[in-house]
């Protein structure tokens, strides 16, 4: 049972990451491969503030979101000069830079040693220390992310994002300042990813740079492509699918020690199959 709760926490965190990335990739059509960077900003902010300065978890989440959004403003500003394949490549580059900073700014992040002993969230004397309690908190925070995302995509703003995805020049002719729209959604999405990062840091109690690599960004991207772009529920479904996949593989008889590696192979194969037979993903509205 405990293990199920553990999976549920992981799923909840990844669902938040997938939802927030879908706002950029699925709705706005910007192929960003740097989401793990913002996930990392949240995680590191929380880890550093809690272990070194004794911050409360909830305050550190707030700071983490802020840090991530400010950095997203800078990164997003540079990215807004690119489009299509170049956008993907440049975002790719940012993930590598951020990873190197996590790895090499040892005074701040302790580099490859990582930051251990991150505390559990506490609120008015109540500690979310058991997995089930933590799951409750994670579900609440990620439901918030889910609701905000739904609110945004159903708004007039959200419709303009889709139009930018379809034809940025055409929508700009009708008077929309598309650069600002792209930047705003990028920053909002980064804030959401930071919440997921804070949860992750506090849940696992230890973080090191290896969690925030390009691979992680691609993993999150795979979730939303699988679940279906431009569909918030699809993003959640994609996260569920890829989190449960290694477990399923274990059930069908793969030895535990190769299940993790098999995950890579199987989700690679799945993606290829999906692109061949259903390019819009399981629930998607939009083909990349």
């Amino acid at each position: 049972m405990e293990y199920l709760y553990h999976l549920a926490v992981l799923f909840t965190i990844y669902a938040g990451l997938a939802i927030s990335l879908d706002l950029i990739v699925g709705y706005t059509g910007l192929l960003s491969v740097t989401h793990a960077a913002f996930y990392g900003f949240g995680a590191y902010s929380t880890a550093i503030l809690m272990t070194r300065y004794g911050f409360n978890f909830f305050v550190s989440v707030g700071v983490g979101v802020l840090v991530s959004m400010v950095l997203a403003l800078l990164i997003g500003y540079v990215l807004s000069r690119f489009k299509d394949d170049y956008y993907a490549l440049v975002s790719f580059g940012f993930n590598i830079i951020v990873f190197s900073i996590f790895l090499n700014w040892q005074d701040l992040t302790r580099g490859p040693l990582g930051i251990p002993g991150i505390g559990k969230p506490e609120l008015f004397g109540f500690a979310f220390s058991s997995t089930l309690e933590f799951l409750g908190l994670a579900v609440v925070l990620m439901s918030l992310v889910y609701s905000v995302a739904r609110f945004i995509v159903n708004s007039s703003f959200g419709r303009v994002l889709k139009a930018i995805r379809e034809d940025e020049k055409a929508i700009s002719v009708f008077g929309y300042d598309t650069k600002t729209y792209k930047l705003v959604i990028f920053v909002i999405s980064a804030g959401m990813a930071a919440i997921a990062g804070s949860l992750f840091a506090s849940y696992i109690t230890f973080i090191d740079p290896s969690t925030f690599t390009l691979n992680e960004s691609i993993f999150i991207l795979a979730m939303i492509i699988l679940g279906g772009l431009s569909n918030i529920r699809g993003a959640v479904l994609g996260a569920l699918f890829l989190i449960l996949l290694p477990e399923a593989l274990r059930f069908v008889g793969f030895p535990t020690d190769i299940a993790a590696q098999m995950r890579q192979v199987v989700y690679g194969a799945l993606l290829i199959g999906l692109m061949l037979y259903r390019p819009q993903g399981m629930m998607g509205e939009f083909k990349l």
């Binding site: 609110f151 945004i152 159903n154 708004s155 007039s156 703003f157 419709r159 303009v160 889709k162 139009a163 995805r165 379809e166 034809d167 020049k169 055409a170 929508i171 700009s172 002719v173 009708f174 008077g175 929309y176 300042d177 600002t180 729209y181 705003v184 431009s230 509205e285 939009f286 083909k287």
Partner: protein
């Protein structure tokens, strides 16, 4: 030159790397009239529209919107503020969005912050219903734009311009070859719409190859050749000129 212009250019020039698409062009479009723009392929007509709608920056010269100073630099966002809108020669729709959303998206507010807290309401829907009915594609409102026929796609673009007019952002409308590929009954509909716009006092610019349509609709005509102004004036007079016939009609 008439003082009653809606939009005017002064020595407008666009130099692409090696090609001079528009050169030293000084023209004007009169308020409440349909101005036809004709010229052989590659004469710079579409580039002119791209310049005047801010899609492409011009290299030199000025664009003068009535009552405003000469603009050395224009963005498409500004041009909407000045009430300039357009259709595209190669239809540009928001393909993987519904027909309804293609209209709604141009009717909602322009600021991002307000936009997050705005949902389309009866006001926006009423506009969409009106303009989609006008071009006869309201029944396809829930279809994705990508699934429309070619003619319906052209009509959706025109509906989008009408929606801009409903929100008060289309005093000057450029139609870049709106008739290409349309069935006769659709041609009739588009002509009706253009005359309606004129009778409402809008300034209409029609880029078109079909001389019968130009004669039927235009009050004035501008002839371009190799990015330069070849002739302008009353339709009958200009189309009767020998050099115009040679450059364009003679072939």
């Amino acid at each position: 030159m008439s003082q009653n212009y809606a939009l005017k250019t002064h020595s407008l020039t666009k130099q692409f790397e090696t090609v001079r698409a528009v050169h030293n062009l000084s023209i004007h479009f009169e308020v409440g009239k349909i101005t036809g723009v004709i010229g052989p392929n590659g004469s710079g007509k579409s580039t002119l529209v791209n310049l005047l709608t801010g899609l492409v920056p011009h290299t030199a010269g000025e664009i003068i919107v009535a009552g405003k100073v000469g603009l050395k630099k224009v963005s498409s966002k500004d041009m909407t503020v000045y009430g300039i809108t357009r259709t595209f020669q190669e239809v540009r729709l928001f393909e993987q969005m519904t027909v309804l959303d293609n209209i709604l998206v141009v009717t909602t507010c322009r600021g991002w912050f307000k936009g997050i807290f705005e949902k389309h309401g009866t006001y926006h829907l009423a506009i969409a219903e009106k303009v989609l009915h006008r071009v006869g594609i309201w029944k396809f409102r829930d279809k994705l734009a990508v699934n429309l026929s070619y003619g319906q796609r052209k009509l959706l673009e025109i509906a989008r311009v009408l929606a801009m007019r409903e929100i008060g952002s289309a005093q000057i409308v450029f139609f870049d070859e709106p008739y290409a590929g349309l069935f006769p009954e659709m041609v009739k509909l588009v002509s009706e719409i253009m005359k309606e716009l004129r009778s409402e006092g809008a300034t209409v610019v029609l880029i078109e190859h079909n001389m019968d349509l130009i004669r039927e609709l235009s009050d004035r005509v501008i002839v371009m050749d190799s990015g330069e102004l070849l002739a302008e004036g009353e339709v009958a007079e200009v189309l009767g000129r020998k050099d115009v016939v040679e450059a364009y009609l003679g072939e």
